[in-house]
């Protein structure tokens, strides 16, 4: 392979990734050479600028043709663009959070590292969204995972942080191994790692009913391995501990960016490989349709487990860990009930979830830092101490609970429609989902009770740092806008990305 073939690739397709990579490298160098005394906070702004530029370049790529470079290992289709956008926005918000994150002990020294490791993680996620090859998928996945292992353990002096990190590493390692094992079978049966080629081979073989059991095995191993990333039950158990232990911005990162990446890769693999592949010789149903029941099971268990266990939590971050498990379940409903609205539902829900969850975490970070503890009781009387903040938090919680007028409600609506319009409709799954929502009222409104009904321990006002303020405002605006006029988002999606028709081309 010589220079001009190398040059013949449209590297522009990878502009966002390159920008992130560059900024990460730059930051690492700066962190290395800047004097110890220098306060590394300002690096956050550089990172932020980088991300924003990446966003711009991505927007610039919106109307570019679907193309794939590097021997189809990297493909930039509308799917990739759409989800990259979510990742970048999420990352931008998290960076701002991180900028104003200032716990009592053990973070100042490592700020610099935090930012570029964060960016590398983001890079991994972005690579995952638009990889057309098992290898790139895997590398992206690992880039994300490894970075987040370190991020989780960022507060070296903080016991919880360390423990979270090690737990994450161990579980993550196991999951990686399982995923890889599944992938290795996929490769073995098809003899290629390129998703598109694999698809064709698999379709052909399945039509003649070969290796169905092995394919099943691979399918499940990949599914389970990725389920770790989504933290869907019963592969969720690491999540609460890790969420609780890690620094709050990292928790936000895990619950938003990392989770999104997980869904992206899951969709990528499942839809590319198993959607066209027939489930048996009588090629009535596709493999995915025949096996979607298992995904439904995961979804149901996640919803129930997440919501039910969250009831008993006193630690706010842990509670949100469980709620995020439940939300993963909601999104899985959209995937398992494969239908016309699946892409819309997943994308919109992830977008909404990003906004409301990040907004919530912004407030949580503020409060938990202010009162060096993470007990729900710290929110008591927030309404007195800072009415606006309380109101904002209330909106995020309502949105998480899926109350109309917020983005969360529309997201749920999408998922329901997708689940119920198929025939036979997924009534059981929908019922579980709605039931879970009702249960979730208990703990979501428990926070409300604290904020509005209980008297405050201290009456001193809370001063909101600029960074957190902006995140809250943006998230608030988004949550309400998408709740009141969801078509601003939906039309944007349809206008720029159509119906992801180029997904399999």
């Amino acid at each position: 392979m010589n220079a001009d073939t190398l040059l013949s690739y449209q590297w522009g397709q990878m502009a966002p990734e390159f920008i992130i990579l560059g900024v990460a490298a730059l930051l690492s160098l700066l962190d290395l050479f800047l004097p110890k005394s220098y306060n590394r906070r300002s690096l956050a702004w550089i990172a932020l600028v980088g991300i924003l530029i990446a966003v711009l370049s991505l927007i610039g790529l919106f109307d570019s043709k679907t193309a794939s470079i590097l021997h189809d290992t990297f493909r930039l289709d509308s799917f990739g663009k759409a989800f990259k956008l979510i990742l970048l926005i999420g990352a931008a918000c998290v960076i701002v959070l991180a900028e104003s994150y200032d716990p009592r002990e053990g973070f100042k020294k490592y700020r610099g590292e935090f930012y570029y490791l964060f960016l590398t993680g983001l890079l991994g996620a972005m690579v995952m969204t638009s990889s057309g090859d098992l290898i790139t998928l895997f590398v992206g996945l690992e880039l994300l995972s490894v970075s987040s292992y370190i991020l989780a353990g960022m507060r070296k002096k903080h016991a919880g942080s360390n423990e979270a990190a090690i737990k994450y590493v161990i579980n993550g390692g196991i999951s990686t191994a399982i995923t890889l094992f599944g992938m290795s079978y996929l490769y073995g049966l098809t003899g290629t790692t390129n998703l598109m080629e694999m698809k064709d081979v698999m379709t052909a073989q399945a039509a003649s009913g070969q290796y169905m059991y092995l394919y099943g095995l691979a399918f499940f191993m990949v599914l389970v391995g990725l389920s770790f990333k989504l933290a869907s039950a019963p592969f969720h158990m690491w999540a609460p501990d890790v969420y609780q232990g890690s620094p709050t911005p990292v928790t936000a990162f895990l619950s938003v960016v990392s989770k999104t990446a997980g869904f992206v890769i899951l969709l990528r693999i499942l839809l590319t490989l198993f959607l066209t592949m027939p489930g048996d010789e009588s090629q009535t149903f596709s493999f995915l349709e025949t096996h979607s029941i298992y995904i439904s099971c995961l979804a149901g268990i996640s919803i129930i487990a997440g919501n039910v266990i969250a009831l008993r939590q006193r630690n706010i971050k842990r509670m949100f860990a469980y709620s995020s498990i439940a939300h993963a379940g909601y999104i899985l409903v959209a995937i398992s009930a494969l239908g016309y609205f699946t892409f819309d539902a997943v994308w919109f829900y992830l977008m909404a979830y990003l906004l409301m969850n990040l907004g919530a975490f912004a407030v949580i970070q503020l409060i938990t830092d202010a009162s060096n503890s993470e007990d729900i009781a710290d929110f008591a009387g927030l309404y007195r101490r800072s009415p606006l903040l309380a109101a904002g938090f209330a909106v995020f919680i309502l949105s998480l609970a899926g109350i109309p007028g917020t983005a969360g409600f529309i997201g749920k609506l999408n998922i329901f429609m997708n689940a119920l319009m198929t025939d036979p409709g997924h009534f059981v799954l929908a019922s579980i989902m709605i039931g879970g929502t009702v249960i979730s009222y208990f703990y979501y409104f428990g926070i409300m009770t604290q904020m509005f009904f209980r008297p405050a321990a201290t009456t001193e006002k809370i001063k909101v740092p600029a960074g957190i303020g902006t995140v809250v405002v943006i998230a608030l605006a988004g949550t309400i806008l998408f709740g009141v006029a969801p078509n601003t988002a939906l039309d944007f999606l349809h206008h720029n990305f159509g119906s992801f028709n180029d997904f399999l081309k």
Binding site: I170, V224, V308, I309, R312, Q313
Partner: protein
Amino acid sequence: MMENAWIIPLFPLISFLLLLLLGKRLKESSAYIGIAFTLFSLIFSLLVLGDRFTSPTYKTGAEWLKIGDVRIRAGFEVNQLNALMLVIVSLVSFLVHMYSKGYMQGEKRFSVFYAYLGLFTFAMLGLVISPNLLQLYVFWELVGLGSFLLIGFYFYKEEAKQAAKKAFIMTRIGDVGLFIGMILLFWETGSFEYDAIFKAAHEGNLSEGMITLTAILIFIGAMGKSGQFPLHTWLPDAMEGPTPVSALIHAATMVAAGVYLVASMFPLFSESSTAMLIVAATGAFTAIFAASIGLVQTDIKRVLAYSTVSQLGYMMLALGTAGYVAGVFHLMTHAFFKALLFLAAGSVIHAVHTQNIEEMGGLWKKLRITGPLFLIGTLAISGVPLFSGFFSKDEILVSAWNHGNYFLFLLALIAAFFTAFYMFRLFFLVFAGVPKKEAGNVHESPASMTIPMLVLGVLAIVSGYVNTPWFGTFLGDWLTKGNTYLEHGHGDSPVWIMLAATIVSLAGIILAYLIYSKRTISRDWLGGQGSMLHNILFNKYYADEFYNLSIVRLTGILGVFFSYIDRFIVEGLVSLVTGTVQKLGKMGSRMQTGQVQQYGTIAFFGLAVLLILFALTGGIFE
């Protein structure tokens, strides 16, 4: 004139509203408003009655409520019966208004009292001129409200409170019967209007059973209002109200509404012999039942109350034995002499400040006006010849005899005897004998009280002569004239019946005289206080106790039972659900031991289960 009859009820209504607004300021002078407006209605109703003699029944109405394609009308009607009732009601009401001015003097809530009187009068007059069952029901209930308010006028008295509640609820029980009957008739005949119903019933569009059923249901309503057994217990208690109220509501007008209802629904009843029999039987039984209780009561007003119940029984008996005229006739005469008796009793109470006849006596000399008037009333109710009661009672006995139900006839006769006896017992105990020392400075009542009594006294004598075997049965002819559904219920009246009636009443009087005035016979003729028979009668056959033990208790028990269902079953299920959810949560968080390897294990089991399921569901058999 008749087309303006609708205005008659409005006068009292206006006075009611005026007094509500201005009552506070007007104080005692509010009496004049009440009196004035009732006078107007009296005048108008007299005019209407006058017209009715000459011109035929007048009826009009307008659409009141539209249900789908059903039209329910409201309006008014003037036929013989309710023209007569208009006069009776407005007259008595007017007199009572006058009387109350003196009687209620110094009462703190004077204006309120008059307001209530106005409300009641309005309702009663409205009831009387209603052309259809629904409208009648509406006023029927309002009358109940008026009675309820007036009974409970002394709201701070526990007894008054209980009595009012009892009155409302007991009558309500009857009302539901009327309610159901009315609705059933509506679906059967497609209308609430009397004439439409009668037409349908007459032409046999209704099944025999349905007629009987509806008739009985309506009669239940009448029982409630007219205090017929077994719904009679509220009426004696209602004496807790001010005495003028007792005279107006619980003697002359409202309690007669039941009789009026049966009378005005007579064509329906007459279609079903069963219903007729039940009406007659209930009436007769109530007559003798109440009379027997009256024998031993010691509260002057309660004696009168039981006599009222018994007299109402008479009227029912009359109607039940096809004695339409007799019933209405007695209704009229009774209205006069019973109102008289109550007002007189009121003036007695006013004088001696007690209601216990044991503590009275020798008042004849003290109360020069009240005494004779009371005597007139007593003679009239006892059916002594030449007094109004004599003629009407005779009518009833005749109709009972002609109807051929001799047992009922016998009961009626005995009841007549009882009546004469206990009424004169009352009279002698109060007026004869030596004054008791409790009754110290006794004085006659003011003119505002005596004048109404005088008027009623006159009526109590003469009102009988509108329908007599000797001077022509004018009332009867007029009432039945032009009424297609009524045949004149006046066959031949054997003279011996009249004699028998006279004899029993005189016998009763003489016996009472011997016991309570002459003392030739021991007063313990019943075995005296504490003897079983006496106790039974004195405690009104323990009817109240029975109800308390059975119905009231049952309701309470049911309530408690339901409350247990609420607390344990319904709430229990709820807490079961929430409990399980909480339990699950506990279990889940228990699993979260913090042991990372356990997490891995669980995950691995998850994978294993998936694979096994997959294997079992056929993947392996490819």
